[in-house]
C-alpha cells in the first residue's frame, strides 16, 4: 500500500533521515515517537504537502513523490483538526464532495450518512468554534472519511481529548477502520494509545524510524536501551552472562541471578529488560512456569487507580491490580517475592 524509500527532508534545523517503511493495505500503523521527532513532517510528506529532498513515496504501486496532495486521494486529520472556521459542520463535511462536483442530492445523502455514522447530525448547522474537542474530532474524521479514501493519515488525533472521550473515539476509529477497510497511519506520542490502536508500530526518534514491529515486539523486545526507556520499560537491569546451557542463559544481577533464553555467550555484559506488568507479586515464592524469583523489600507503593505500582529494593518496579494488592495486604517495608517467566526477559547486549 505505502512504500517509503530512502526518504530525507530538512526543515529549518531539523532533518528526517533515511526513512524506509512499508505499510500494508488495510493495516493500522502507528508512528510512535517523542515530541519533535519528525512524526508530523513524515505524515505531511506522505500526504504531499511537502516534497522530499531525496527518496520516494509509493502509494498503491504508483510513485507519488512529485504528485500534488489533491491527486493523491489521501485523507488527513490534524492534531487540532483544522476545521474550516467559516463553514458549518455540514459544510465542512461536504467540502470535498462539492470539490468532486458530485450531484447535489448525492452530496446531501453522503454527508448525512457520515454525520449519522458519527452521531453528529444534531451539530450540522454549528460552526467549529462552538464544538467540543470530541465533536471537532468527529467532524474532522467525517470530513476526511466521506471521500472514502484508501489511506487516512491521523496526526495525534486524540491528544486534545479528555480520557473518557478519547476512549470512545478510539473505539469509534477502530470500528471505522474495520468496517471501511481503510489503511490508517496514526501518529502519536502516547504509548497506551499506540498499544490499543496499532496492528504495527514504527518508533520514530530524532528524524529516524528506529524500530518497526508488532505491539508485542515493540514493547517487549525494544531494539536498544533508548527505545526501551521511551516505551516505558521501567526495569532495565545491568549484569553479565554467567552460564549458557541449551540456549538458556543465566545473568548475574548484583546479588541475584535470573535466567532467560538467548544466544549470547558467557561473559557478555547485558541489560535485562522486564516490563512491570510481566512481574507477579506474591508472599511466597512462585513454583510454576515463572522461572525467575527475586526476593526483596517494598520501598514504595503508588496507587494509580485500578493499578498499583510497587517498587522493590528501589530498583525493580512491578504493577499489580488494586484488588490483588489489597488481598495481599501489601505495605512498604514488607518482604515479598517478584517472579517472572524467562520469556518475559528481553536481553540487550551492552
Amino acid at each position: 500500500m505505502i512504500a517509503i524509500k530512502n526518504l530525507e527532508r530538512s526543515w529549518k534545523d531539523f532533518n528526517l533521515k533515511d526513512i524506509n517503511l512499508t505499510i500494508d493495505r488495510g493495516e493500522y500503523f502507528v508512528i510512535l515517537g517523542p515530541t519533535g521527532s519528525g512524526k508530523t513532517l513524515l505524515l505531511e510528506l506522505i500526504a504531499g504537502f511537502y516534497i522530499p529532498d531525496t527518496g520516494e513515496i509509493w502509494i498503491d504501486r504508483a510513485n507519488v513523490t512529485n504528485i500534488t496532495p489533491e491527486e493523491r486521494g489521501v485523507g488527513f486529520v490534524y492534531q487540532d483538526y483544522a476545521l474550516f472556521p467559516h463553514l458549518t459542520v455540514r459544510e465542512n463535511i461536504e467540502f470535498g464532495l462539492i470539490i468532486k462536483k458530485l450531484p447535489k442530492d448525492e452530496i446531501k445523502r453522503e454527508s448525512s450518512r457520515m454525520m449519522d455514522l458519527l452521531g453528529i447530525t444534531h451539530l450540522k448547522d454549528r460552526y467549529p468554534d462552538t464544538l467540543s474537542g470530541g465533536e471537532r474530532q468527529k467532524t474532522a474524521t467525517g470530513r476526511a472519511l466521506v471521500l472514502k479514501p484508501d489511506l487516512l493519515l491521523l496526526d495525534e488525533p486524540m491528544s486534545a481529548l479528555d480520557a473518557r472521550t478519547k476512549s470512545g473515539m478510539q473505539d469509534e476509529i477502530k470500528k471505522i477502520h474495520k468496517e471501511a477497510g481503510v489503511t490508517i497511519v496514526h501518529v502519536t506520542h502516547d504509548q497506551t494509545e499506540a498499544m490499543i490502536m496499532a496492528d504495527r508500530i514504527g518508533i520514530m526518534m530524532d528524524g529516524r524510524i528506529v524500530q518497526v514491529g508488532t505491539v508485542r515486539e515493540i514493547f517487549n523486545m525494544p531494539k536498544d536501551r533508548i527505545i526501551a526507556d521511551f516505551v516505558g520499560t521501567e526495569n532495565i537491569l545491568e549484569g553479565s552472562v554467567t552460564e549458557k546451557i541449551d540456549g538458556l542463559i543465566k545473568i548475574n544481577i548484583g546479588s541475584t541471578e535470573i535466567s532467560t533464553l538467548s544466544d549470547l555467550e558467557t561473559g557478555c555484559k547485558v541489560n535485562a529488560l522486564i516490563r512491570p506488568e510481566d512481574i507477579i507479586i506474591s508472599r511466597e515464592p512462585q513454583r510454576t512456569s515463572a522461572r525467575n524469583n527475586i526476593e526483596g523489600v517494598i520501598t514504595k507503593i503508588v496507587n494509580l487507580g485500578a493499578i498499583v505500582r510497587i517498587e522493590i529494593d528501589g530498583e525493580l518496579v512491578a504493577f499489580t491490580t488494586k484488588q490483588s494488592a489489597e488481598e495481599l495486604g501489601l505495605d512498604t517495608g514488607e518482604h515479598i517475592h517478584a517472579s517472572f517467566k524467562s520469556t518475559a526477559v528481553h536481553v540487550l547486549k551492552k
Binding site: 504537502f49 500534488t68 496532495p69 489533491e70 486521494g73 490534524y78 483544522a82 474550516f84 472556521p85 470539490i99
Partner: protein, 277 residues
C-alpha cells in the same frame, strides 16, 4: 435581560474596573486626548457653519460641488478596485512565500507611506506626463493622464496601495497553512483552495484594507493637485474656493464632503460587521 440593560450593566462594570485599575484609567484619559482632538476640530467646523446653514444648502445644490465630490468618490473607488486586483495576489505571495528580493519588494510597497505627498505628486507627474514612461504609451493611444480622471485614479492608487497590500498580507498570515493543506487533501486544487478557504478566511482583513485604501485615496490632495488639477476633485475644489474666496466659501463644501465620506465609511464598516459571523 434586554439589550439596554446589558449595555448599562457592562458600562457600570467598566466604570468599576477603571476605578480599581489606575493604569487603565490613565490609558483612558491619554486615549481620550486624541478622540477629543479629532472631535473638537471637526465639531468646531460644523458648529461655525450653523450660523450660515443656507450656504450649506447652496453647496448641496451646486452642480460643480456635486461633480467634484462624485469625481473623488469614483476615483477612490476605482483606485481601490485596482489596488485590490493587483494587491491581493501580491499580499498572498508576500505572506506565504520566502524568496530572494522579498524584503526589497516589501520596502518598495511601503515607500508611498514614507515620502511627502507633494514629492509623490512630482514623481507621478514625471512618469504620467506625455513623454513619461507610463504617459507616453497612453499618449500614443490618444489618452492623456495629466489633468485627467485616470490621472487622479493613479495618484490615489500610488498613495493608498500600501494600506491594502500590508493589511491583506497580515490577513493571509493569520490563515493557518494547515487549512490549505487539509483543503488540498480533500481534492481542492491550489486555486480552489485560495477561493474557498484562504480568501474567505482572510476576507475581514482584506475588506478592512479596502476601506483604508479607499479612505486614503479619497482624502489625497497634494499628489492629485500636481497630477490632475482637472477634473476637479473635492479636495482641489475646497482648496481653490479657500484660496480664492476664503473660509466662508470653502467650509460648506468641506462639511458636505465630510458628511458624505463619513456616511459611506460608516456604511462600509457596518457591512463589514454584518459579514462577520
Amino acid at each position: 435581560m434586554n439589550v439596554r440593560c446589558m449595555h448599562i450593566k457592562s458600562n457600570k462594570n467598566l466604570a468599576k474596573q477603571l476605578k480599581r485599575e489606575k493604569l487603565l484609567l490613565l490609558f483612558f484619559f491619554l486615549g481620550l486626548f486624541l478622540v477629543v482632538f479629532v472631535f473638537i476640530t471637526l465639531g468646531d467646523m460644523f458648529y461655525r457653519q450653523t450660523g450660515d446653514i443656507s450656504a450649506l444648502f447652496s453647496a448641496v445644490k451646486d452642480p460643480v460641488v456635486l461633480t467634484a465630490i462624485g469625481t473623488s468618490i469614483a476615483a477612490a473607488s476605482l483606485s481601490t478596485l485596482i489596488a485590490f486586483t493587483f494587491g491581493v495576489p501580491l499580499a498572498y505571495l508576500l505572506a506565504r512565500k520566502n524568496f530572494i528580493g522579498k524584503s526589497i519588494i516589501e520596502g518598495i510597497i511601503d515607500i508611498p507611506m514614507m515620502i511627502p505627498h507633494v514629492v509623490a505628486g512630482i514623481a507621478l507627474y514625471g512618469v504620467l506626463m506625455r513623454s513619461g514612461v507610463i504617459g507616453a504609451p497612453f499618449n500614443m493611444l490618444g489618452f492623456s493622464l495629466i489633468d485627467a480622471f485616470f490621472g487622479i485614479v493613479l495618484a490615489m492608487l500610488f498613495m493608498s496601495l500600501p494600506y491594502l497590500v500590508n493589511t491583506a498580507k497580515e490577513g493571509f498570515k493569520t490563515v493557518d497553512e494547515r487549512f490549505e493543506n487539509v483543503s488540498r487533501s480533500l481534492g481542492a486544487s491550489r486555486s480552489q483552495t485560495f477561493r474557498k478557504v484562504t480568501f474567505p478566511l482572510a476576507f475581514p482583513s482584506i475588506y478592512n484594507g479596502c476601506i483604508l485604501t479607499w479612505a486614503r485615496g479619497i482624502s489625497e490632495f497634494s499628489a492629485v493637485l500636481i497630477v490632475a488639477y482637472f477634473p476637479k476633485s473635492a479636495p482641489i475644489l475646497i482648496y481653490e474656493r479657500f484660496t480664492s474666496y476664503g473660509l466662508s466659501s470653502s467650509r460648506p463644501i468641506a462639511i458636505l464632503f465630510v458628511i458624505i465620506c463619513l456616511a459611506l465609511f460608516t456604511l462600509l464598516r457596518t457591512s463589514e460587521w454584518r459579514k462577520k459571523r
